[in-house]
Amino acid sequence: MGLLSSTVSMTRYKVEGKLEQPIIENIAKRLKNNAISETDDDVSEKVVGWTSFENPFKPNFEGSSFVIGTHLIFSMRIDKKSIPSKLIKKHYTLEMAKQLIESGRQYLSRNEKKLIKEHVINVLGLRIPATPNIYDLIWNYEESSLWFFSNLKNPNEELETLFSKSFNLNLIRLFPFTMADMTMGLSDSDRDAVSKLSPTKFTE
């Protein structure tokens, strides 16, 4: 769900830490270094990287193309190959039959079967293209806040890992406790009181 879609879902983060000057050039360099690479000719099952918001299938971070007003807008792309299990089973069965005929034996060892399966997955992996999923984000660098346009668990976990690896900055997911503790401007005694809260019993 892109950020210009008619409906969006959003997970909010606080970005902990700052980058060295010049900020925009520094971010562009790190985006380029961690940009998505094409996987169609690769056996990798999954590849995760940054891409451009405006051109997600041809990442370009030249100049300040990802700077919109006071915000940095770009996307994370996850390219994943998923081979249907029934397809693996079909090719695995055919390959086993072929090997049995060629070897003149009646059985294959467990290790041979394992190698055949790996071979089948590798061959099919080269033939099947990866499906791209694109998740947009808006980073307000000055306010150390980031909006990620997905509430799904896996893309959020991938974002946290990729962001930390790319920028060497921590992303802290905002939820009731972290909001109260970090973004509401509460005093130390108020934050302490929040940490000591326990559930209210609404029924008598």
């Binding site: 950020l3 210009l4 008619s6 409906t7 969006v8 879902s9 959003m10 997970t11 909010r12 918001f53 405006e54 919109i68 007003g69 915000h71 807008i73 808006i138 909006w147 509430n151 802290i172 997911r173 905002l174 939820f175 009731p176 406790f177 972290t178 909001m179 109260a180 503790d181 973004t183 509401m184 509460l186 108020d190 009181a193 929040v194 940490s195 809260l197 326990s198 559930p199 209210t200 609404f202 029924t203 008598e204």
Partner: protein
């Protein structure tokens, strides 16, 4: 600070209590809402409420959905000890409306529909459209932040135990 995943689970109840309180405020104290948001015309319950009731080791989930759904079942569930875990809201300001769902445990925003914006007809218009969308999304983010700030200040005050809980109980039982 506690480990993030530990604090997420340990303090989920804060978000659930926040949404329960918010429903109460929407129904009973609209002046408070107007004081919080000067441009607010209205904040209403939208077309979905999810409640959860943990009884001993069992979890009961109650979902009420539909544009004109009655909320009596929800109030009855609250009376039995449930809390609100998801709330769909309609926020109006001037002649514009935002609709969105807030999930209590994460305060994440789902199915956010902003007021209509001009369709993008050329590449040159993308930047303007993005800036406008950021502005519109920020309205909802600010609204949630303001409401949650008021709630958390109240929740850690003596007023919560001395007055608010009883007012909530009276409303649930009304």
């Amino acid at each position: 600070m506690l480990d993030v995943s530990v604090s997420y689970n340990r303090y989920k109840f804060i978000g659930h209590e926040f949404l329960t309180w918010l429903w109460f405020i929407i129904e009973n104290d609209r002046d408070k809402l107007r004081n919080l948001e000067k441009d607010l015309i209205s904040l209403d319950i939208g077309n979905r409420i999810v409640l959860e009731n943990r009884l001993n080791d069992t979890l009961e989930t109650i979902t009420i959905k539909g544009d004109d759904a009655g909320l009596e079942e929800g109030l009855l569930s609250l009376k039995k000890g449930a809390v609100v875990t998801e709330l769909n809201l309609s926020y109006k300001e001037a002649n514009q409306e935002w609709r969105f769902t807030v999930k209590g445990e994460s305060l994440s925003i789902a199915n956010l529909k902003t007021p209509d914006t001009k369709p993008i007809e050329s590449q040159e218009e993308v930047e303007g459209a993005l800036i406008e969308k950021v502005f519109l999304y920020n309205k909802v983010v600010q609204l949630i932040d303001n409401l949650f700030f008021q709630f958390i200040k109240l929740r850690i005050s003596n007023e919560w135990n001395k007055q608010v809980i009883q007012r909530l109980r009276d409303w649930m039982g009304s």
